[in-house]
Symmetry: C2
Subunit: 271 residues, 2 copies
């Protein structure tokens, strides 16, 4: 814990009067404020931390929400950073010049010494950590987060589609590309609709080599108490080491895990 959690940003913002003339500066400033707040921020929180007038902030926040850079949670009346930012994030991190080339070196060091390895660079006279390797497997990571994938031919995608409200589900189906990736890929809306019905009954989804040969997975949706689709969870393996039957046997555990996450998410909303 201490080894990995000791990196909180502590030093003050370089503060010196930001410009905030152009709308673009203002937009990023607002994002910084929301990000800096740590958790979901109310309008007033943002206002307190920003010199911008109320009217301007109000419009800016809603515009940023429209852009997908912020998410406004109706329930808690709070803004948090949006998914579009995570996508950009991923791309930024991937293209951070050192990250890519340093990866194998960092792996080797971590293994050789059995200790935590950091890669950093300087940004505005502070240390910006770019990568980290710890010897034990613990850990969240960022190789997938930020990536996007097709919904119609992945386990998590189908698990979520299946439990969408009818209206949304049809719109989502209409937006799928139905590109064939493997012989098993579902390539028509009808086929997908049928599979989704099965998933809805069964409560979990498979990916039976639909996206990539030999890759199979079982996935469950994470559903809010009201039934809203929060996300999905999957366990992936290959046909070489396991089978759909074996994966199906895991489904109950996965469902329990999804329920746990939904509960925890609910707690977080209230807390």
């Amino acid at each position: 814990m201490s080894l990995s959690e000791d990196l909180k940003s502590e030093e003050n913002e370089s503060s010196s009067e930001l410009d905030l003339t152009s709308p673009i500066s203002r937009a990023f400033h607002v994002l910084d404020v929301v990000a800096g707040f740590g958790g979901p921020a109310r309008f007033a929180d943002v206002q307190k931390a920003s010199p911008l007038p109320k009217a301007t902030l109000s419009r800016m926040l809603r515009q940023l929400e429209g852009e997908g850079m912020l998410i406004f949670d109706e329930g808690s009346q709070r803004y948090r950073l949006g998914l579009r930012l995570i996508r950009l994030a991923h791309a930024a991190w991937e293209s951070a010049s050192l990250v890519e080339v340093a990866r194998p070196v960092i792996d080797a060091l971590a293994e050789r010494f059995g200790m935590t390895v950091h890669l950093a660079c300087l940004d505005a006279f502070q240390v910006l950590y770019l990568d980290k390797r710890v010897p034990r497997p613990i850990i969240r990571m960022f190789s997938s987060p930020g990536r996007i994938g097709p919904a119609y031919c992945t386990g998590v995608g189908k698990a979520m589609l299946a439990f969408l409200p009818d209206r949304d589900r049809e719109e989502a189906i209409a937006r799928q590309s139905f590109t064939r990736h493997t012989p098993h890929t579902l390539t028509t809306p009808e086929a997908l609709r049928a599979v989704l019905a099965t998933i809805r009954e069964r409560g979990f989804a498979f990916d039976d080599e639909e996206h990539e040969n030999t890759i199979i997975c079982v996935a469950v949706p994470i559903l809010a108490p009201g039934g809203a689709v929060l996300g999905a969870l999957s366990v992936t393996t290959t046909t070489h080491v396991s089978s759909l039957d074996a994966l199906a046997a895991m489904a109950p555990v996965l469902k329990g895990a999804a329920a746990d996450i939904a509960t925890a998410a609910r707690m977080q909303m209230l807390g």
Copy 2:
């Protein structure tokens, strides 16, 4: 490889005529284009992928660079996503509601089944992966990347400061907060300057419990052939399991690793 690398975004952009009226929409659009390009993009690359007129793009790109959202590499005359985005990224990911609460559940599942576990949500009718756990330790991660830390009391920070050009170094020193974190923290510019001189001679830096008690590390700068500071690399441990002497013994290996990274980075620039 196939299990972790199968997530390239393949489906086309939802394409449908973006608005691009407000400057803010345009700004994010440009970021998306640069991000979508994969690697560093030249002006012409961006122009080809965007309906915006040359003049507008030119200004926009430079403004985004000024904001720190893009980095313009003089050498290759290319734009890539900036470090500010990585900072925001980190905050966005941390605050993605599911990530936090799902973490322990994902850990447990990965361990229990010994298989890859994914957490995803739906974004614009596609799957957006939020987290992933693989049973084996491999892996890049994103718990530190994006975090910022003080330069004057971390190994990587001091390693980089030490090798900055005099002018930059003095400015950087002037910008440090010199907040005391532990009894060992350097709290004056003079003390730091002295230590940096030692580091410059010796070629590597220690963090001798200066940021957090019992945490020690050894760090080396990553220097470009011309001497420019590209970044830094560190190995961290605790006083309970190791010592500065033991860390010092690793310095030559670290230096070699840093040199490898610098070389690889150089290759990448040319290629």
